[in-house]
């Protein structure tokens, strides 16, 4: 018989997953178009780049990028689990719900209006993307709820419609914009990792970790919600409070991820499914492990994206979409037999 989950067992699993993540991050930060040697990096650390270019590349280029990929992957993986749980639909994902396109619209508006201010060291693009993502979540939630009370299908449908609508506006805006601006936004729309400032990284990491811990705290309730809202209520779960909290936190970490990296699709879909396949559907496991596995997945995908066509770079969203698209179709075939929408 499969052993039951205990705090001790989960701690061991999380610790092992974190170890794997650390190894993957370390290895990936050594891989790149410029080959660097670890020996050289630590031979004379902290010296200017003319003396020790390896150190410069490792610390200023590779490390921030790997940390960023880790952060975005963890946020998207976790958000995917939570959206699937509260919508009771294994096909839900921040990208499919239209949250990402809301963020994209915000970013495009920021690019086209040519703002030059910064907020806490963030460019207007990131700030607008954050606002766009958060705004879309509330819009999807609001439309879905008022269209038919707590009906799962209408919520997904609202996401699809908003996605299409925002995409149309994005197309319109890009077609009237100047070509130079368009190029950078298109790259961003495909999901792009850039070397971020360490302050930004730490600040975002803090919030993402905080969000994941908060979601972990409501994971027993998410388990019960899988059985439907009536059952959840009769087992003592305050549906409105739990759903609101889960949606708000998942949306917030999605927004952080999107504002940092643009539209990276399918991470929130592939990762939770993989973890569920191996570790089962218990959300007390799914939430922390999807976060860590999401980080591993995106760090690896981003390493592939920046090396496969080196010295040029692919947006990481291209890599995840090429893997994720067929994966989504397989799931669609598998689940349409079983779930009643």
């Amino acid at each position: 018989m499969k052993e039951l989950l205990t705090a001790k067992r989960l701690t061991v699993e999380i610790a092992s997953a974190l170890l794997v993540l650390a190894i993957v991050m370390f290895v990936c930060s050594l891989i790149g178009s410029e080959s660097i040697s670890l020996k050289a990096v630590f031979a004379r650390p902290g010296e200017p780049s003319e003396v020790n270019p390896d150190y410069e590349i490792f610390v200023r280029v590779r490390l921030p990028r790997v940390i960023l990929a880790c952060l975005v992957g963890a946020a998207l993986g976790c958000a995917g689990v939570v959206f699937q749980a509260i919508l009771r639909n294994p096909l839900a994902d921040p990208y499919i719900l239209g949250i990402s396109s809301g963020a994209a619209l915000g970013a495009i508006i920021a690019v086209l209006s040519g703002f030059s201010w910064t907020l806490w060291g963030r460019s207007p693009i990131a700030v607008f993307a954050f606002a766009g993502a958060l705004g879309t979540v509330w819009l999807v939630w609001f439309i879905g709820r008022s269209a038919a009370k707590s009906n799962v299908t209408s919520l997904l449908l609202a996401g699809v419609v908003i996605n299409a609508f925002f995409s149309a506006i994005i197309m319109f805006l890009t077609s009237v914009a100047k070509s130079q601006q368009v190029y950078s936004t298109i790259f961003w729309l495909m999901g792009n990792m850039t070397e971020e400032d360490f302050n930004v990284l730490w600040f975002s990491t803090l919030w993402v970790v905080f969000g994941i811990v908060a979601l972990f705290y409501i994971s027993p309730q998410l388990n019960v919600i899988s059985f439907g809202s009536d059952d959840a209520r009769s087992m003592g779960v305050n549906m409105l409070r739990t759903q609101t909290a889960a949606f708000a936190v998942a949306a917030a970490i999605t927004s952080i991820a999107v504002s940092l990296s643009g539209l990276v699709g399918f991470v929130g879909l592939i990762v939770p499914h993989g973890v569920r396949l191996v570790f089962g559907p218990d959300h007390r496991r799914l939430i922390p492990l999807s976060g860590i596995v999401g980080a591993v997945f995106l760090v690896a995908a981003d390493t592939l994206a920046r090396t496969i066509v080196a010295p040029a770079q692919l947006p990481v969203g291209v890599v995840t979409a090429i893997v994720g698209g067929p994966f989504f179709l397989v799931l669609l075939f598998k689940y349409t037999k079983r779930i009643v929408l």
Binding site: N89, G228, D231
Partner: protein, 277 residues
């Protein structure tokens, strides 16, 4: 002691009146059968009793306190509900599902204690589901799954157990199995059980109290409550369900056989009906 007190309860959806002026009291440790034709409001009544719906007027008291004075969690410590079959989208196993019944007892814990696990194991043994504890719910038959949901409700360890047609879709053996199991829970643990059922015959054999719901009419609230022997009378059943029936007796209890226009026995029904009662 009356653990459920319903007084002057009315409920309706936007334009249809479903329940009108219903009052009844249920003593602790009673097995109550709720019967009636489709659309008479049986499930609605059940949903009112677990606060999934709010009454239009009237009041419901659970354990001497108004139902709306309970928080979601504190009500879940008093009332467990087994609904008609619902398979979750994610592949939870039997034991994981039964352990979720302990949810209201968690009180900010994230993991089950040893006591929780022991109670869940007992519930699985009582329902004969321990054999397939590790199997995912989706791989079970309808009868097995129904027993798992009853196990989960037993693990919730409440005074009151509400069930919505627990034996629909089940074969004869499993129907009787479920009723035996519920009766055992009633007798051994002193649980109060209220089950919505279409099977008047089984209900008559097991229940201590019966509530018959019919359509609300201008001059009648379509509601009868009492001991099964009085409530399930041939005349009453024929009137409420609008079908001709043959009735006989097994020991002290009556049984009923509905007879449609083309039933083999139907031609002789007028001469035979009620002769045996």
């Amino acid at each position: 002691m009356d653990i459920i007190e319903v007084s002057h309860l009315s409920f309706g959806y936007s334009d249809t009146e479903v329940l009108r002026d219903i009052s009844f009291k249920v003593k602790q440790g009673t097995f109550l059968a709720i019967a009636g034709p489709n659309g008479a409001g049986k499930s609605t009544l059940l949903n009112l009793l677990c606060a999934a719906l709010k009454p239009k007027s009237g009041s419901i008291n659970i354990d001497a306190a108004p139902i709306d004075s309970y928080s979601t969690r504190s009500l879940a410590l008093k009332v467990a509900v087994v609904r008609q079959e619902f398979v979750p989208v994610f592949g939870f196993s039997v034991i994981e599902t039964v352990l979720m019944g302990r949810m209201p007892h968690y009180n900010h814990r994230l993991f089950e204690s040893r006591i929780d696990r022991q109670i869940a194991t007992e519930a699985m043994e009582a329902t004969d589901t321990a054999r397939f504890a590790a199997r995912p719910l989706v791989n079970l038959s309808g009868g097995e799954r129904q027993r798992v949901f009853i196990a989960r409700a037993l693990a919730q360890d409440t005074d009151i157990l509400l069930l919505d047609e627990p034996t629909s879709f089940l074969d004869l053996k499993h129907q009787v199995g479920i009723y035996d199991l519920l009766k055992a829970a009633q007798l051994q643990k002193g649980k109060t059980i209220a089950a919505v059922t279409h099977d008047i015959n089984l209900a008559a054999q097991y229940a201590d109290a019966a509530l018959l719901l019919g359509q609300v009419q201008a001059d009648s609230s379509g509601f009868w409550y009492g001991c099964p022997r009085d409530i399930f009378s041939p005349e009453q059943i024929e009137r409420v369900f609008g079908v001709k029936i043959f009735s006989g007796t097994i020991g002290e209890e009556k049984f009923f056989m509905p007879l449609g226009k083309f039933a083999k026995f139907s031609g002789r029904i007028d001469t035979n009906i009620n002769k045996n009662t």
